[in-house]
């Protein structure tokens, strides 16, 4: 043995220690991996040895290797071995390694529970400290559950060093095991007033973090924190408290007002202490009214301190409440856009969004466009792009006065390389083109150019995203083809073979819109005398379409083959010199109108209309087939009445269409929002109620040629000046009219902007824009337990108070147990007064079940008590199943069947018909708190019934029969302490009195002679308790003897109380 030790230490001399390893790695720069693999082999050898020092050294090296990125999970067990070393030196290394290498899925963590518990209760504070530190890194739900009580005890440790750590780690425990929050919270709250500032700040930290998750439950602590804030001088603590108030003020507005003064003081104090960097933070966190005005002053000063980022951050917070005050700092923010730092630029961008107005929109966007050109890095550029579009399109294009400018901005954006936001641009183009009628001519011209130059957009693989724009371009050109200057050319561009490389959904749009274009071209060409041009166009279609018919995309295939057949048919007719352009056009006739997403709701149901009844019998199969070709353009609607056609089948078609129109007019689900269509359907009621605002246009500027967005800025200036000049001439009356005409629009922006008339107006669907979802709260609330029934808000307050009361009581008990535990292991009995059970009515209107409890020690097992709970159903419904659960606490635990989890409830093994009761026994290790969940069959709701059991010390007595000779011997032995009590005014018969003591306090009668009786009982810890009860008249005197004086005193107190109540 001795030889082995010597050999071990000799070996060790030749082992590498950590320094050697580090040096070695540095010396083997070229073949590091190889060197480390030999090192790992050595370490594996070292780990096999028995010597703990060698092992610790190996583990230390492993920790280093782990940091370098090598997998050391295979050594997890060895780490646990080192952790459990008794020497601090090794223990420290072991815990360090564990905290670095272990994570939740490490299975050996389970083995550490007992070791950690041992270390936590170690007399050496550094052992405890090291264990706590380690635990903070690898705590799992299981560990948290098992160790919660130990850590909670440590929160009242004598050494602040330990208290501090224990308080902090409690937060981790709460997160992993939320149930622990309830019992631990009172103690945590106590720590707020701990004499040690470190512990105090730790408690503030923890409560602050908890409150951030679920502020509502911590409002009651506000006064306490307010006191702390005004008294504390520790900046770290102050920041945390202010953060906490930031979470609380939204819930309690009065708090904000109260905070202004102390906060201002604080700012001045800190300002003078030259720690100005904290200011915006301190303040921005608490968003109150009067305050942020003064804050701006400081925020501006921030820029001097080059802490631009924080300044911007603070501004964005103020912007939400005081947009105007921030707007004045526009230049400052625009400067930030030039900053080298990306995070600053992004922040500045956020701010710009809130700062635009009609006046400065063009200027700001121009500036942004410059940045787009300069920007390197696609993320930032994409961000810019989305911001530009966001800024322009916010609140229904409220700030855009010239849409030609906007379209050209969008077109310019398509030139961006590698952006992912093609889709966004496309949807903007579509939106604007559809909603702003006056812009269509211009938009179509631009889109035609885009289509013509499609190869620029699709040529590069990297530009995949941008080709989405072609979707919009093709659609706009097709839909509004009547505005095209040269439709034939565009048609040709749309049918280029290259198109086949585009994504399927875009090709589909191409094919469809080629057909629309074809119709337009046909119309224009048929007017001419020469019919060959028209036939050439048809030929072009027939030549090019087969390419799409072969497409792999089903949609493209279907549309292409359908249109191909159509064109072939048209060609046949053309050869017979039949004029068909009108009919082809009719295929795509109609007008699209924007409809608000919720517009349908606004349509009132006409009187006498039964929505469930068939208006017409369900259409036959053939009819629905007939409708199919139209279904492709489901969004479209006939607007003008069609010219009558000569052919018979066309007539029939028209007839059917008329019938359908009629049906649609009567059908309130069919939206005909176009106001111009009202002429056609004047007889139809309800149509005019559809909330679509009439498009109202002032005269747009005609700009010839291909404009660049820049020129609009200039034009806009001119236009505004002209407007202003015009306006002066105008009479007041006219002005008034105009205003009232614009009344429908959102009242927007500062008043001065009223003077700027938009060049184009947007179709603004004023009502029913989709609601912005309110901020989704995404907080973790481990404190849900803290108040059980959040839902039953009416009872909320009452319950909470109740809970608190219970908490207090529990605490009292805990302390007591604790005390006993330390003083003498034997006196485990809790000493409490009163046996009255407290009942709480079910939080519903009906009478709930009712319980009466009896608590008795368990004969078989000294550490258990049996609680018999009487369930009585007082309500008139049948209780199908009930569950009984106990929140395990420090000193008590519900005895559950093996295999069930620690939080599972016990199912009560019977059902309760109304008005009946039954008894059920539960075995509980020192139970303190019981929850019953009755489940009601009718409503099948789960209801919780909280109640509470008092564990009196006589609960722990076991009624044991005793023979009189043994009893006499016991009394003679002299080990017993004596005590007595006198009860006055007891009127009950003597045998009732005895029965009551027997029943309530678990005694048994040993002997009774006339008005004198001796009684005996023993506690589950085998303490004997003997009583001699004598009565004369109304006076009862009780002499008691017991080998445990505390128990004796408390038993007597209890008996006294029992009789004082009757």
């Amino acid at each position: 043995m001795a030889l082995k030790i010597v050999k071990g230490s000799i070996d060790r001399m030749f082992d590498k220690n950590l320094q050697d390893l580090v040096r070695g790695i540095r010396n083997h720069k070229e073949d590091e991996a190889k060197y480390i693999s030999t090192c790992i082999d050595e370490i594996k050898q070292e780990l096999k040895q028995d010597n703990i020092a060698v092992k610790a050294n190996a583990v230390c090296k492993l920790t280093y290797l782990q940091m370098l990125g090598y997998d050391v999970s295979w050594a997890a067990f060895n780490i646990v071995e080192v952790m459990s070393s008794s020497k601090f030196t090794y223990k420290r290394i072991g815990y360090l390694a564990a905290s670095q290498c272990f994570h939740e899925s490490t299975d050996v963590i389970m083995l550490t529970t007992n070791q950690i518990r041992k270390d936590l209760s170690s007399p050496n504070q550094y052992d405890t400290g090291v264990a706590l530190t380690g635990l903070s890194c690898f705590v799992t739900p299981d560990l948290a559950r098992d160790l919660a009580n130990d850590i909670m005890t440590l929160m009242s440790h004598t050494k602040p060093y330990i208290r501090k750590k224990a308080v902090l780690i409690m937060y981790k425990v709460f997160l992993k095991y939320p149930e622990s929050l309830r019992p631990a919270f009172p103690r945590l709250k106590e720590k707020l007033e701990d004499p040690d500032p470190g512990v105090q700040s730790a408690a503030v930290n923890v409560i602050c973090e908890l409150a951030r998750r679920n502020p509502k439950n911590y409002l009651s602590l506000a006064p306490l924190f307010f006191k702390l804030m005004t008294s504390s001088t520790n900046n770290w603590v102050l920041i945390k408290i202010i953060k906490l108030f930031g979470a609380l003020t939204p819930l309690e507005p009065r708090l904000g007002k109260k905070l202004i003064e102390p906060l201002t003081n604080l700012i001045h104090r800190i300002m003078s202490a030259d720690r100005s960097v904290y200011i915006p933070f301190l303040v921005a966190r608490v968003r109150t009214k009067g305050e942020s005005m003064s804050v701006l002053k400081y925020v501006k000063a921030m820029f001097v301190f080059v802490v631009k980022y924080l300044g911007l951050l603070a501004m964005s917070k103020i912007l939400k409440t005081h947009p105007k005050s921030v707007q004045s700092h526009k230049d400052l923010i625009l400067q930030c856009l030039d900053d080298k730092d990306e995070s600053i630029r992004l922040r500045a961008l956020d701010l710009l969004y809130g700062m635009v107005s009609k006046k400065n929109l063009m200027e700001i966007v121009k500036k942004l466009m410059l940045h787009v050109d300069k920007a390197e890095g696609t993320t930032y550029r994409d961000e810019l792009l989305t911001k530009i579009i966001d800024i322009c399109s916010q609140s229904n294009y409220q700030y855009i006065t010239n849409f030609e400018w906007y379209i050209s901005i969008l077109v310019e954006l398509t030139r961006l390389e590698g952006t992912r936001h093609g889709h966004l641009i496309a949807s903007q183009m579509l939106d604007v083109a559809i909603r702003v009628k006056a812009i269509r001519v211009f938009a179509v011209a631009q889109m035609a150019t885009l289509l013509d130059n499609a190869h620029l957009l699709t040529g590069n693989v990297q530009r995949k995203g941008i080709c989405e724009v072609l979707y919009a371009a093709a659609w706009i050109c097709g839909e509004f083809s009547e505005h095209l200057d040269n439709p034939t050319q565009t048609l040709e561009a749309m049918l280029r073979p290259k198109v086949a490389t585009l994504p399927g959904h875009i090709q589909a749009v191409y094919v469809q819109n080629a057909a629309k274009l074809f119709a337009t071209v046909l119309k224009s060409q048929e007017g001419n005398t020469d019919s060959t041009a028209a036939q050439e166009t048809s030929q072009l279609m027939i030549d090019r379409l087969p390419l799409f018919v072969q497409s792999a995309n089903l949609e493209v295939q279907e549309r292409a083959s359908c249109i191909l057949q159509l064109v072939k048919y048209i060609q046949k007719l053309q050869q017979k010199d039949v004029e068909i352009a009108e009919e082809v056009i009719a295929l795509f006739a109609g007008e699209l109108n924007p409809v608000a997403p919720k517009a349908q709701k606004k349509v009132p149901v006409p009187e006498g209309l039964d929505l469930d009844a068939w208006i017409n019998e369900p259409p036959s199969e053939s009819e629905s087939e007939d409708e199919q070709p139209r279904a492709i353009f489901a969004k479209e609607e006939p607007k003008h009445s069609r010219p009558r056609h000569t052919e018979v089948d066309e007539k029939e078609l028209a007839k059917r269409r008329e019938a359908r129109k009629q049906e649609q007019a009567n059908n309130p689900f069919y939206i005909k929002s176009s106001p111009s269509s009202q002429k056609v359907y004047q007889e139809a009621p309800g149509v005019e109620h559809i909330p679509v605002v009439q498009i109202d246009l002032s005269v747009p500027l005609k700009v010839p040629g291909l404009p660049m967005s820049d020129q609009y800025v200039k034009l806009e200036e001119e236009r505004r000046q002209k407007d202003r000049a015009d306006k002066k001439k105008k009479e007041k009356k006219k002005r008034k009219e105009k205003r009232s005409g614009r009344g429908k629009r959102h009242d927007s922006g500062p008043e001065s902007e009223e003077d700027i008339t938009p060049a184009h107006m947007v179709d603004i669907v004023t009502e029913e824009m989709p609601e912005v979802p309110s901020r989704i709260s995404n907080t973790i609330s481990p404190s849900t337990l803290w108040v059980f029934d959040d839902k039953k808000s009416s009872k909320h307050k009452k319950k909470k108070q109740k809970k608190e009361k219970e908490e207090k009581e529990k605490k009292k008990k805990k302390k007591h147990h604790h005390h006993h535990h330390h003083s003498d292991g034997g006196g485990e009995e809790s000493v409490q007064n009163g046996t009255v059970e407290e009942e709480e009515p079910l939080p519903v209107s009906r009478d709930g079940p009712d319980q009466v409890n009896d608590i008795q020690g368990n004969l078989q097992d000294g550490s258990q008590v049996v609680v018999s709970v009487i369930f009585e159903n007082k309500c008139d419904s049948f209780l199908k199943s009930m569950e009984f659960n106990v929140l395990d606490s420090l000193n008590s635990k519900l005895q559950r069947p093996e295999g069930s989890g620690p939080h599972d409830g016990l199912t009560v093994p019977f059902q309760l018909p109304p008005g009946q009761s039954n008894v059920c026994l539960f075995v509980i290790h020192y139970l303190l708190f019981v929850v019953v969940f009755p489940q009601n069959e009718d409503s099948s709701t789960h209801e919780k019934l909280d109640f509470k059991l008092h564990f009196t010390c006589t609960s722990y007595l076991i009624s044991t029969p005793c023979y009189s000779d043994a009893f006499a011997k016991l009394l003679e032995s002299g080990d017993l302490k004596c005590s007595s009590v006198k009860l006055e005014g007891v009127v009950m018969p003597f045998h009732h009195l005895l029965a009551r003591i027997c029943f309530r306090h678990h005694f048994s009668v040993v002997e009774r002679i006339d008005s004198c009786a001796s009684m005996y009982s023993r506690s589950i810890q085998d303490h004997h308790v003997c009583l001699l009860v004598k009565t004369s008249g109304q006076t009862v005197s009780i002499d008691a003897k017991c080998d445990e004086p505390t128990l004796l005193g408390n038993v007597l107190d209890e008996i006294k109380q029992t009789f004082s109540q009757c």
Binding site: L96, S99, L168, L310
Partner: protein, 186 residues
Amino acid sequence: MPFASFCGTTHSFISHSHCVSQLLCLSVISSFQMQFMLLFSRQGKLRLQKWYVPLSDKEKKKITRELVQTVLARKPKMCSFLEWRDLKVVYKRYASLYFCCAIEDQDNELITLEIIHRYVELLDKYFGSVCELDIIFNFEKAYFILDEFLLGGEAQETSKKNVLKAIEQADLLQEVRHLMKSMWGR
């Protein structure tokens, strides 16, 4: 920002919408003040890492790699804060060593900067004008100091004196080992 919430009193997490799957883990547990701290050299060599959120080794490596690259690419005059994924990263360079912390979105950047600085001061006091080599060769000491200063991502002791006192006393317990080391002349 993606997050998670407890569902009742159970442990089940409900993850939110737009988080990328790989980030899911990060976001679920992003409820601590500081998420992690990394020390790395100008060459991108990791010198110390401390994670206050339990992540698998793979994720840790991925995050480390990305972050080191991002931070090293930044120019000296740039601001010390940057938004990265859904976290805020606060970093500062001391000589050849970068100190880099990740915090939650709502957390205070400046206090994090202060924490970094205080940690550097602690190292400086302990080692006596600290240099990168001190941290390389005594990396466990650097960890011990950090553990005394921060616990579970929260500053546990703001007094430098107290931290150093705790470390020194713990070291005293280790004295025996030091003696043995000096015997063998490290």
